[in-house]
């Protein structure tokens, strides 16, 4: 093997050791060094030259990036995740013929889908989904993400929360926690419109708080317009339908003027 390859492999071994003992700082420094070394290999994307070691180099590089992605989840750094995933993607998309598929491919793809869902980038979620072949949808990690998105869209939030218990992979836990927070906000929003009032215990259960104290804090922080009286939460219902609705005069004027202008144009 080439001397550069051996050096990189050794550094990678040290990285894996540091990761195993949870020394995150060492991991980060080693990772940046590894990335610099990787730029010296011409067979990697975007140049994809054919060198004799191409297969080895591609496999190694892909391994490194996969670990980088998992590390960024541990560090709870979403931007790093996005960057590393962008670098990893060409390995999955374009190298299908050259190297055998990686075992971590589907879990990482599922992780990315989950991230997009949590950040509410639904359009990108669907675009990514289109890129996956049909058989990918059978894989539990991907299926998990897709079903989550469906439940989220439909509004069956309790299904989302119960899915948290059944994560297919331990790296998913971080995103599921974030998702739980988003779901809580959504439930609060829906409850506001849907219910006139809820008893405190019901509200606690729906918003998944463990104690009354948490519930009170949450309400005072996020929704100060809700009132808590007699052990029940009253949602804002003070805006009764206005008897005298205002006429949107500006809009009407604009519309009528545009009609007049267009009609004048008709010869």
């Amino acid at each position: 093997m080439d001397p550069k390859m051996t050096e990189v492999t050794q550094m990678f071994a040290r990285f894996k050791a540091a990761y195993a003992r949870n020394d995150l700082d060492a991991c980060v420094t080693l990772l940046s060094q590894l990335k610099v070394h990787l730029t010296k290999f011409p067979s990697l994307p975007p140049s994809f030259q054919q060198t004799p070691n191409a297969v080895e180099e591609l496999k190694l590089a892909r391994d490194i990036y996969e670990h980088a992605v998992v590390l960024s989840v541990k560090l709870e750094d979403q931007d790093a995740f996005e960057r590393d995933f962008c670098q990893l993607k060409p390995y999955y998309m374009d190298t299908c013929g050259i190297i055998p598929p990686s075992a971590e491919e589907y879990p990482i793809l599922g992780l990315n889908l989950l991230r997009l869902l949590v950040q509410n980038r639904i359009a990108e979620f669907h675009t990514e989904l289109e890129l996956l072949p049909v058989k990918a949808l059978e894989h539990p990690c991907i299926k998990h993400a897709v079903e989550l998105e469906q439940s989220f869209m439909e509004g069956a939030y309790n299904r989302v929360l119960s899915a948290r218990q059944a994560v297919p992979h331990e790296t998913y836990v971080y995103f599921m926690d974030l998702l739980a927070k988003t779901v809580r906000d959504e439930i609060a929003g829906c409850s506001e419109k849907g219910y006139d009032s809820l008893s405190v215990s019901d509200a606690k259960q729906m918003l998944m708080f463990s104690s009354d104290q948490d519930l009170h804090e949450y309400i005072t922080e996020e929704h100060p317009e809700w009132e808590i009286t007699n052990g029940a939460v009253f949602f804002q219902k003070a805006k009764e339908s206005q008897p005298c609705k205002e006429i949107p005069s500006l809009q009407l004027i604009n519309q009528t003027l545009s009609y007049a202008r267009e009609l004048e144009r008709i010869v």
Partner: protein
């Protein structure tokens, strides 16, 4: 087509043989020679329209092309020593020279053309390429296409543009037929750059569409959108290219969840497409139906009953039925039954998204019919299968209320949903908004129609004879005097 009306009187063909005249069955070779003369005339007088007309004539001949016709035409059109001749004749398969059609009228109509015109050369490439594709000889077609693209890169003449854009199209088509579209992506991008630099708008349009098609073939919606948003846009030169562009745009927008824009583009594409392009219109309609379902509106039955499309649209018809009824079981059954059709159309992921709409419609039906209904009953009616249907139903209903799909409140303690009275719609702003959108649409249509009207040039300048002109001048004088008098009177 207006061009046809205009060109008929300036026909450059030497002795246009009347159909019933000397040779009853004019050979294809003769036609090809005529077309060559048209092209030559067009290139000499720099009129692009003649060349596009020539091409249309070729398309009419496509079916009757035989190998000997093509080789004879090549011998006629290209000087025997040129590279192009050598390459092209190598590609055309040799056939026995049986039954050469004799041009009975040929002595009188000796057609000859100037050799060495690049347009003729490109036309030959195009002809051979079309011939090879029709004969299903894809490898040779690929070789021919590669050679012609290489030749095109050296040319920069406006008159070649029309032929060049058709050549690009067939180039991409041949690669698509052999499933190797990814290889030419780089080439297409380079060609697009070249076309932009040469201000070749037709070429730009064609190449942009081909690139979009390339990306969408591999489901690379993200990259397609990036290209589309950055590429220069201008007035469409060709109706067919514009229709294609609208269709691809509609597809991209659908995947990106922008359903209103998608619906507009897809419906426009379906409307503008020529009636002969049935396959294209069927595809547009399929996607348009799904987008309308995703938007929550049910397409009318007449959409599915259009001529020639009934059979192809049957799966979508059943799907619409399931969504309209709001029945999840039926929806699941239909989706499974036609799964292969949907995968072939690549609409499978979109159908999955429809599940949410089915539930919404079901919920809307329930809320209109019941003033008060328990959540357990709702779960049963919607046939939500999950471990905890009541809690599911509750959150689904709450979300629907927040999104404004239904008008109701939930009573958690008693576990039921109470629908609100639907007030009088006419007392709100709804009718006015609906009217406004319709008025805007009609006015827009009117403006577009006015802009699209093309008058044949010189039609408004009648040939005024001398007397008429005198009369007119006299009238104008009188009028001027009259007006001058009036002014005096006022004083």
């Amino acid at each position: 087509m207006p061009e046809d009306v205009q060109m008929n009187d300036s026909e450059p063909q030497p002795a246009a043989p009347a159909p019933a005249a000397a040779a009853p069955a004019l050979s294809t070779l003769h036609h090809l020679k005529e077309i060559a003369t048209v092209i030559e005339a067009g290139s000499l007088s720099k009129e692009v329209r003649r060349i596009s007309r020539a091409f249309r004539l070729t398309v009419a001949l496509r079916r009757r092309l035989a190998a000997r016709d093509v080789s004879a035409f090549l011998a006629f059109a290209l000087p025997a020593s040129s590279e192009a001749y050598g390459r092209l004749t190598a590609l055309v398969p040799k056939e026995d020279d049986t039954e050469m059609d004799v041009d009975a009228a040929s002595p009188a109509t000796q057609i000859s053309i100037k050799h060495g015109l690049p347009e003729i050369e490109i036309f030959c490439y195009l002809l051979v390429l079309i011939f090879l594709i029709d004969q299903k000889k894809y490898d040779e077609a690929k070789a021919c296409a590669n050679v012609s693209i290489a030749r095109l890169k050296n040319l920069n003449r406006r008159t070649v543009d029309v032929l060049a854009s058709r050549l690009y199209f067939y180039y991409s088509y041949v690669y698509e037929l052999t499933n190797s579209l990814a290889e030419i992506r780089g080439n297409l991008l380079a060609l697009h750059r070249m076309a932009t630099l040469h201000h070749d708008e037709l070429g730009q349009e064609t190449l942009l569409n081909l690139l979009l098609r390339n990306y969408l073939h591999y489901n690379l919606y993200d990259q397609a959108e990036k290209l589309r948003s950055k590429a220069p846009r201008f007035e469409a030169h060709s109706n067919q290219q514009f229709c294609r562009y609208l269709f691809y745009l509609g597809k991209i927008r659908t995947i990106q969840l922008e359903y209103t824009d998608a619906k507009e583009s897809l419906l426009q594409a379906a409307r503008k497409a020529p009636t002969t392009a049935r396959g294209f219109r069927i595809q547009c309609n399929k996607w348009a139906i799904i987008v309308r379902l995703l938007l929550g509106e049910i397409p009318e039955r007449t959409v599915f009953m259009q001529k020639g499309m009934k059979k192809a649209l049957t799966p979508y018809f059943e799907l619409t039925n399931a969504v309209r009824v709001g029945d999840l079981e039926l929806f699941r059954a239909v989706a499974d039954k036609f799964a292969s059709t949907f995968s072939a159309d690549r609409t499978r992921n979109l159908i999955v998204r429809l599940r949410h709409n089915v539930i919404r419609t079901g919920l809307r039906n329930i809320s209109i019919s019941y003033s008060r209904i328990s959540l357990a009953d709702i779960a049963k009616k919607l046939r939500l299968d999950s471990e905890n249907p009541i809690a599911d139903a509750e959150s689904i209903v709450a979300k629907a209320i927040r999104d404004g799909a239904i008008d109701a409140t939930i009573d958690h303690a008693n576990g039921w949903m109470v629908s609100k009275e639907t007030g009088d719609v006419y007392s709100t702003n709804e009718p006015q908004i609906a009217f406004n959108s319709r008025i805007a649409f009609c006015l827009n249509m009117h403006n577009e129609a006015v802009k699209a009207m093309r008058f044949p040039p010189n039609s408004h300048k009648e040939k005024e004879s001398a007397e008429k002109r005198r009369e007119r001048l006299q009238q104008e004088e009188e009028l001027a005097k009259h007006m001058a008098e009036e002014d005096d009177d006022d004083f």
